[in-house]
């Protein structure tokens, strides 16, 4: 089993925003929704490389800040016709740390 990467306390991310992490050579944007739950997507927009962690989010979608392509926070699929973003399994452990799992390829 992959124990996952501990990215540290969830407080690093304000509610309703995202922050980016470099994990095992990948750039990952982790979002903390306003209901407190976490989502993780790859941090680089497939369209023109926009920084996804700087995007605006709601409970469902993130909008890339550069040209406003929209991606589902759960699957990474685009609702505006862009290529999909990778998505990751992310959870909080008992100590309020962010645990991210990166699938082996």
């Amino acid at each position: 089993m992959n124990a996952g990467h501990n990215l540290g306390p969830v407080d690093q991310i304000p509610f309703g925003e995202g922050r980016a992490f470099g994990v095992a050579g990948e750039q990952v944007a982790v979002f903390r929704l306003r209901d407190g739950s976490l989502r993780a997507l790859s941090a680089v927009c497939p369209h023109k490389g926009g920084p996804i962690a700087d995007g605006t989010i709601d409970q469902e979608l993130v909008l890339c800040p550069l040209h406003q392509h929209a991606f589902r926070l759960d699957t990474g699929c685009s609702t505006t016709g862009a290529e999909p973003l990778g998505s990751y399994d992310v959870q909080m452990d008992n100590h309020q740390n962010i645990i991210l799992r990166i699938a082996a390829r």
């Binding site: 925003e17 922050r19 306003r34 605006t56 993130v62 929209a70 699938a103």
Partner: protein, 862 residues
């Protein structure tokens, strides 16, 4: 671990695929489940005809009958070629013209080989051979290879190495268009204007000319015919069209042939037969098209001018090969417009699927309705009278660019040309198509003489009359979607694609929808929402916020959104509105802001930011300049640029450096990033300038000091000029002030000179600079409270009307002037320089990089 991996893989698959087949069953298994049950359909050419034919086949249950493979030479899904003119002119983004996205092919289980050319067909063994080595068998084959640009023979087209000379372009594909745009924008010569020669004065040439012009390029059109668009109209119409085109600033040379392209390794001009050379750095060849028949010829199919097909769209002498679109010759005709190919695609699909084996294509009567270079053009049948007994009705009004010509034979219309006024086109097209008897009063063919004729016109239209020629939408299809419950104009347009081609039929589409809905047409409700996620217009939204005492964006979603759902697209607009309404009572939730407003800088293409310190009225000092220079040096700023708003822009600053850059600058923010008051551009004014009558610099600085940073539905750019020479360009600003003789000041509002150009309307002339500041503030507050989200003043002012704005703002007819002033004062009082956040980030990681493993900046360092 493996479970995680599987989970992830599945998650990243486009959702749409999961709908078309069970998630657990991979695609190849689904195929193997019923082997040989489906025949193999191969389509060569993935353009408008090929993709439309496949859509028609799918609509007739083709997915059950066929496994479909498409080859397209262009490395994309099918797009609307007609819209390339809009892409060239920049009105439309190239991403928006796709008709079939790559997902569409996946969803319909179509194997698309994009960017792959078919080179040969073996019609005996039934295989196609592609240039990438693919050999694919077919049971049924459709050829839809379209056309290519025809390049007339002339000298100097090619470089010695045989490639086409840099600066010479054709106009057929999305890549052609992108190349032209790139050339037009990027390789601008250091001095002098860009200029282009367009060879060909038909539909394509004129569209290319107009498109290039919108990039600021000086354009000449060289046309070998005696008059413009000679395929569609006679010399009289051509002459009027020429006037209209020349009025746009495009030079026209008719009856003249280009004999050579000049220039050694890139274009420097063209040589004309018996006219002087024309200098230019760009040549666009739009001299007609030639059907793509190479594959057909090579494979032994029957080809004359194009691939010859019968009334079933079957290639002559072939059982299993069909052809459709511009590559086809049917009953001697080869078409070059989209309307015929919609009709062809229907007949072809009826036969390929067996849905209707009696279906026959009998040719298309070409009635074209186009918008060429902004001019409405309709033409059908004869261009002019041919027999002594033909009646010819002619109306010509060159100054307005209107020309109408109708030819009548035996009381039937046999031809018409209309320019510059297309109001009667729908009726005339029908009269032409159906051979309707004509009214005795012939002039009513051309004009509506009183009465509600427009309405009648729509009611009279036949069900199958084509409303949108570009997308082949009949009156009946529109009426059907309206009857099916879609009673908004925008909804009906989305559902049918009517009006989404050249756009010239939008008025008619609107009339048909209104007629079909029998007055029950609804304004698209969402069109009036202030933000998409809250179903309220601006006044209702503001009233609800006040009534319920809402103070944050999240509380607005909770109280007013359907299902209390947050909506990312609405956040920025709500944040701005509430800050405006509540000033320091607003509870600022940072996640509601756009990234620019979270970090007070403008995001760049690589994720770095630009920093523009405040420089009131464009006035700076030795100390400021020295400090800016030091900061730029210390932080290795990639580009230092003077902005159009008279400030200095430091570009390419990584997010994490922003606080330090601000600290080192120790200057307030210039707000070059927000939907807010930006800057006041000033000229030097009377203290220095020998013409000046007012101290424009001083007033500009005072206005900027007062209104710095206030947010608005869209950005506000202001200017103050010291005399009517207007060096600060006050007439094209959101608010522009001009000093005039006698110590007076004129105030203009609603001007623009960006993507749109509009001269501002004169709001008032006042005696006192203080009065200027009061009216400026009052106008901006009225705009903040009443404009739609992202509606610039150039749209707001004409929408509301300058008379009404003057009544409210200057004459106070509604008695709200004092309220407006007080609300603006509250905003002014709550101003805090956002760059003070450098001393302590407001949120954790506010300035943390969002691309931790990318070395920024990626923008070029100059």
């Amino acid at each position: 671990m493996t479970t995680v991996a599987d989970e992830n893989k599945r998650k990243t698959q486009p959702k749409t695929q999961a709908i078309t087949r069970p998630k657990t069953q991979p695609r190849h298994q689904a195929r193997q489940a019923k082997p040989a049950a489906r025949r193999r359909l191969v389509v060569i050419g993935n353009g408008m005809a090929g993709a439309r034919a496949v859509e028609e086949i799918l609509a007739r249950g083709g997915a059950e009958q066929f496994s479909i493979t498409m080859f397209g030479d262009e490395p994309y899904g099918n797009y609307n070629r007609i819209m390339l003119s809009h892409v060239l002119s920049g009105e439309e983004s190239d991403a928006d013209i796709f008709l079939n996205s790559l997902h569409w092919y996946q969803d319909n289980n179509i194997t698309l080989h994009a960017g792959v050319r078919v080179e040969r067909i073996d019609r005996f063994t039934k295989y196609v051979f592609a240039n990438n080595g693919h050999v694919v068998p077919y049971d049924v084959l459709i050829i839809a290879t379209g056309s290519q640009s025809f390049i007339p023979p002339m000298d100097g087209l090619y470089t010695p190495s045989g490639s086409i000379k840099p600066g010479v372009f054709t106009f057929r594909t999305i890549d052609d268009t992108r190349n032209m745009v790139q050339h037009a924008q990027q390789d601008r010569p250091p001095e002098g204007e860009r200029s282009a020669v367009v060879i060909g004065g038909g539909l394509l040439g004129l569209e290319a000319a107009r498109g290039l012009q919108s990039h600021g390029i000086d354009v000449d059109v060289v046309h070998s015919g005696g008059h413009l668009m000679n395929a569609q109209m006679g010399p009289d119409g051509g002459a009027i069209l020429r006037r209209s085109v020349e009025a746009l600033g495009i030079r026209v040379h008719t009856g003249s042939r280009t004999t050579a392209v000049l220039g050694a390794d890139k274009v420097t001009g063209v040589r004309l037969r018996d006219r002087p050379d024309i200098d230019c750095d760009m040549v666009v060849v739009a001299a007609g098209i030639r059907p793509n028949v190479d594959v057909a010829v090579l494979s032994g199919l029957h080809v004359e001018r194009a691939i010859v097909v019968d009334d079933q769209l079957r290639v002559v002498d072939e059982d299993d090969i069909y052809a459709v679109g511009e590559c086809v010759q049917h009953r001697g005709e080869v078409y070059g417009l989209v309307a015929p190919l919609w009709e062809q695609a229907v007949v072809l699909a009826n036969h390929v699927t067996g849905a209707d084996s009696t279906s026959a294509y009998l040719g298309s009567r070409i009635a074209t309705k186009l918008k060429v270079a902004g001019v409405e053009v309709a033409s059908m049948g004869l261009q002019g009278p041919e027999r002594e007994t033909d009646e010819h009705i002619l109306f010509s009004e060159p100054s307005r660019g209107v020309f109408k010509s109708i030819v009548i034979r035996d009381n039937k219309m046999v031809g018409a040309t209309l320019l510059g006024d297309s109001r009667k086109v729908a009726y005339l097209t029908q009269a032409f198509d159906k051979g309707l008897p004509l009214p005795e009063e012939r002039i009513s063919l051309m004009f509506d003489l009183g009465g509600p004729a427009e309405e009648q016109g729509v009611a009279e239209l036949d069900d199958d009359a084509q409303v949108c020629n570009c997308n082949g939408v009949s009156k009946k299809s529109l009426v059907d979607v309206v009857k099916g419950g879609c009673n908004t104009v925008a909804g009906a347009m989305d559902a049918t694609r009517a009006g989404k081609g050249c756009g010239s039929c939008k008025l008619l589409v609107k009339q048909v929808v209104e007629w079909a809905a029998d007055g029950a047409v609804e304004e698209d409700p969402a069109a009036s929402y202030y933000v998409p996620g809250i179903p309220l217009d601006k006044p209702s939204l503001m009233a609800a916020i006040r009534k319920q005492g809402l103070r944050s964006v999240s509380s607005v979603f909770a109280a007013l959104a359907p299902g209390s759902a947050e909506d990312a697209k609405s956040k920025m607009g709500l944040a701005s509105l509430m800050k405006m309404m509540l000033a320091d009572q607003y509870i600022d939730e940072r996640d509601a802001r756009f990234i620019n407003d979270r970090v007070h800088a403008n995001i760049q293409r690589d994720g770095t930011f630009s920093v523009v310190p405040q420089m009131k009225g464009g006035v700076t000092s030795v100390q400021q300049l020295r400090r800016i220079a030091d900061v730029a040096e210390k932080h290795n700023i990639p580009l230092i640029k003077l902005t159009g708003g008279q400030r200095i822009d430091l570009l390419g600053v990584p997010k994490e450096d922003l606080p330090q850059v601000w600290a080192d600058l120790d200057m307030p923010s210039g707000y070059a990033y927000g939907k807010s008051f930006r800057t006041v551009k000033t000229c030097v004014g009377k203290d220095f300038c020998r013409y000046g009558t007012g101290d424009s610099t001083k007033l500009g600085i005072e206005i900027e000091s007062r209104f710095q940073g206030i947010e608005a539905p869209a950005k506000l750019k202001l200017a103050v000029s010291g005399c009517p020479r207007n060096c600060a360009e006050s007439l094209v600003k959101d608010v522009g002030v001009v000093a005039v003789e006698g110590g007076r000041w004129e105030l203009y509002v609603g001007g623009a000179a960006g993507a749109h150009i509009r001269k501002g309307d004169l709001l008032a002339t006042v005696d006192d600079p203080e009065e200027v500041k009061v009216l400026t503030g009052r106008f901006m507050q009225y705009y903040r409270e009443n404009a739609n989200w992202l509606e610039r003043t150039y749209a707001f002012v004409p929408r509301v009307g300058i008379d009404r704005i003057r009544a409210v703002v200057v004459d106070d007819t509604e008695g709200i002037a004092a309220d407006l002033d007080a609300a603006m004062q509250a905003s002014v009082d709550s101003y805090v320089d956002p760059w003070t956040e450098r001393d302590g980030p407001l949120t954790p990681g506010q300035f943390r990089t969002s691309l931790p493993l990318t070395a920024l900046p990626q923008v070029p360092v100059r």
